[in-house]
């Protein structure tokens, strides 16, 4: 008897759930040949009679958007990009004492960086044992890439271009679609999403976005391959954040690396190491998207009213103590 009532209950439940499924499904009309899924997202009509942000520059003269809060609809962008099944890569260098920053970097990235996407973190280090185990969400992976450490932090910094370039050639091009090259001594504080995706992406250095370009700390010695003459230059970009499609990042880092080698042969080191070379290259190979200082901030600086949000910034630390 009990078996029978249990069976009856099971059948009823099954029928009920099938019925519910059918009800929720849209039954195609017999004539319709194809049904295209329709986005469920609702959002207000984009305004055509006014600008979203009037207080900041939102477009470069070569029509690259400058990404800041208020200029984009993050839901819309994430909805457009998530179905593409992209894998986003992140490279970060934790050499010597810098391994101490890995935990906070990864934990904050897990909370704010590219939520809903497949993410591969690549931590380049000379001390793989020192890399902590940080729990990651599903679809997100960590790879530790052993590299040679150097005694001078400038050398470590400059070798990054070469390391990233070699990594893309050997592994990166197969594993990721987009790659971001970030500094490790930083923390994510707010969402960093699909609004940052682009062919070649640069970020404005927080120290120089209000400064006239003759004051940019470009390399000013003509002997260096990173030399920028007076009257040249668009923005001063930060070396701590750059990225884009993996093929473009490969070209970019390759170009910077060659320029750094040429300087080495001439016995000169650019004023701000690879950041100088990055800036030189971004003049002749302009980024297709520029990130506002929201995406590369320095916590030691007071936050101006035009900066609505800080998404990624330095950790307050004694930098001299850490280098060397």
């Amino acid at each position: 008897m009990r078996w029978r009532s249990m069976l009856l209950a099971a059948i009823t439940l099954t029928l009920l759930s099938i019925f519910l499924v059918i009800c929720s499904m849209k039954l195609p009309a017999t004539e319709e040949k194809k049904f295209r899924p329709f986005p469920q997202l609702l959002y207000p009509q984009p305004k055509l009679l006014e600008q979203q942000r009037k207080d900041v520059l939102t477009l470069t003269p070569w029509l690259a958007p400058i990404v800041s809060e208020g200029t984009f609809n993050s839901e819309l962008l994430n909805n457009a990009y998530r179905p593409l099944n992209l894998t986003i890569g992140v490279t970060a260098f934790a050499v010597g004492k810098y391994t101490r920053f890995v935990r906070r970097f990864l934990e904050s990235a897990e909370e704010f960086f590219m939520q809903g996407f497949q993410v591969n973190y690549y931590i380049f280090t000379d001390d793989p044992e020192a890399i902590p185990h940080v729990p990651l969400r599903p679809g997100r992976n960590l790879s530790v890439i052993p590299i040679q450490g150097f005694s001078h932090w400038e050398e470590i910094s400059m070798r990054r271009m070469e390391s990233i370039n070699k990594f893309i050639a050997s592994r990166g091009h197969r594993e990721v679609d987009y790659l971001y090259c970030l500094d490790i001594d930083m923390v994510f504080w707010n969402p960093w999403g699909a609004e940052t995706l682009g062919d070649l992406v640069a970020a404005i250095h927080p120290g120089y976005f209000t400064v006239p370009r003759w004051q940019f700390p470009y390399e000013r010695r003509p002997l260096s391959t990173a030399f920028v003459a007076d009257g040249e230059g668009d923005f001063y970009y930060g070396g701590a954040v750059f990225g884009g499609r993996v093929e473009r990042v490969y070209e970019f880092t390759g170009g910077c690396h060659m320029a750094i080698l040429a300087d080495k042969a001439n016995g000169i080191m650019a004023a701000w190491q690879e950041e100088s070379h990055l800036n030189r290259r971004f003049i002749s190979h302009k980024p297709s998207k520029v990130l506002s200082p929201e995406y590369l901030w320095d916590d030691r600086k007071p936050q101006p009213p035009s900066l609505k949000l800080i998404r990624f910034s330095t950790l307050d630390k004694d930098s001299m103590n850490l280098k060397n």
């Binding site: 520059l57 477009l59 003269p61 984009f72 006239p212 700390p217 230059g233 923005f235 600086k301």
Partner: protein, 340 residues
């Protein structure tokens, strides 16, 4: 009122007038400065001890004058290519090195051949000057294609196609013809495709600033209008259906483009959607334009062209936000021209 009081009063009035004038001048100057420049409360660079003697401001030496009266970006960060927002020299520098060829498709079926001469002549003056251009003229009257002197690196390719008795069919079959010829011609011969109406003329510069993966143009008649008034297809039975409360812009059927691969996808999708509609015995309210709008709603363009790129001076006049009229409708008698 005695004269002494009068003198006192007029003096007071004058003083107040001066105060007001000074205040107005100050406010005017300050507000202009405030809108155009970027402030920071503490402008020191992170690592250097550079002295700042002046008020800091964002300065892009290469920038053309900025526009604050119009939106420069869509919510998905596609630039809206307004005059004044881009530097032609920088863009040309970026594109010249790539040795690109731009293809233009125009349909001159039946009596529409009469528009070819003006279109091509004005294109030679204003369209992608200095670049390689292939004009693909789709026509059923190849002998009526005028011989126009062309700049170096530019040519006219005549493609003979069938005509249809209804103008709506001619309009809609453009999608099919463009997608067909992609494999035969366009993938090999050009990098970018620009698909235009032929009953237009170029009036001002149209250059590489418009090039991108997928480009749509804002229909001049709907600029600034609420999306509830957009003439999207509103019947769910059609593949071009866009429900109320959805949609970004109303795009023009007569000006779209992009990289060949993207235009191929667009035209193929629109053509297939129109075939489905046909089998369901429904025709979208604005034909290929309705399907284009549906496609660009689901596949957002990477650049949007403002109504500068497609204007009708007779119908719409010359509003303040329009600094240039790059392409203009050629006045025509609809009844006479269509279906002939």
């Amino acid at each position: 009122m005695n004269s002494k009081t009068k003198d006192c009063l007029s003096k007071t009035y004058r003083d107040w007038l001066w105060v007001i004038l000074v205040l107005a001048a100050f406010l005017g100057g300050y507000s202009t400065y405030f809108i155009l420049e970027h402030h920071s409360s503490s402008p020191e660079p992170a690592t250097q001890s550079v002295q700042h003697h002046e008020k800091p401001k964002i300065e892009l030496q290469t920038a053309s004058q900025r526009r604050i009266d119009v939106p420069l970006l869509t919510p998905w960060l596609a630039p809206i290519v307004w005059d004044g927002t881009f530097d032609e020299d920088i863009l040309n520098e970026q594109f010249q090195g790539r040795n690109i060829t731009i293809g233009v498709t125009i349909f001159a079926i039946k009596k529409y051949v009469i528009f070819l001469k003006l279109f091509l002549e004005t294109a030679e003056k204003h369209f992608m000057v200095g670049y390689k251009v292939n004009y693909y003229v789709f026509t059923d009257r190849p002998n009526d294609v005028p011989k126009i002197p062309l700049q170096e690196g530019r040519k006219i390719i005549t493609l003979v196609v069938q005509n249809y008795s209804r103008w709506q069919d001619i309009s809609m079959h453009r999608m099919e013809m463009i997608s067909n010829y992609c494999h035969q011609l366009f993938f090999k011969d050009v990098d970018y495709l620009v698909c235009l109406d032929v009953d237009m003329k170029f009036n001002d510069h149209v250059g590489v600033e418009m090039l991108s993966d997928l480009v749509g143009t804002l229909h001049p008649g709907f600029y600034g209008a609420s999306r509830e008034t957009f003439t999207y297809e509103r019947r769910p039975k059609s593949q071009a259906y866009i429900p109320r409360g959805k949609g970004d812009y109303y795009y023009m059927g007569g000006f779209f483009g992009g990289k060949v691969q993207q235009v191929y996808k667009l035209t193929k999708a629109c053509h297939e959607a129109m075939l489905i509609d046909k089998s369901n015995r429904i025709e979208a309210v604005w034909h290929d334009e309705s399907h284009l709008n549906k496609y660009l709603f689901l596949h957002k363009p990477t650049k949007v062209l403002p109504p500068e790129y497609m204007w009708d001076k007779q119908l719409l006049g010359w509003p303040a936000f329009l600094r240039k009229m790059r392409m203009l409708a050629v006045p025509k008698n609809h009844a006479k021209i269509r279906n002939k």
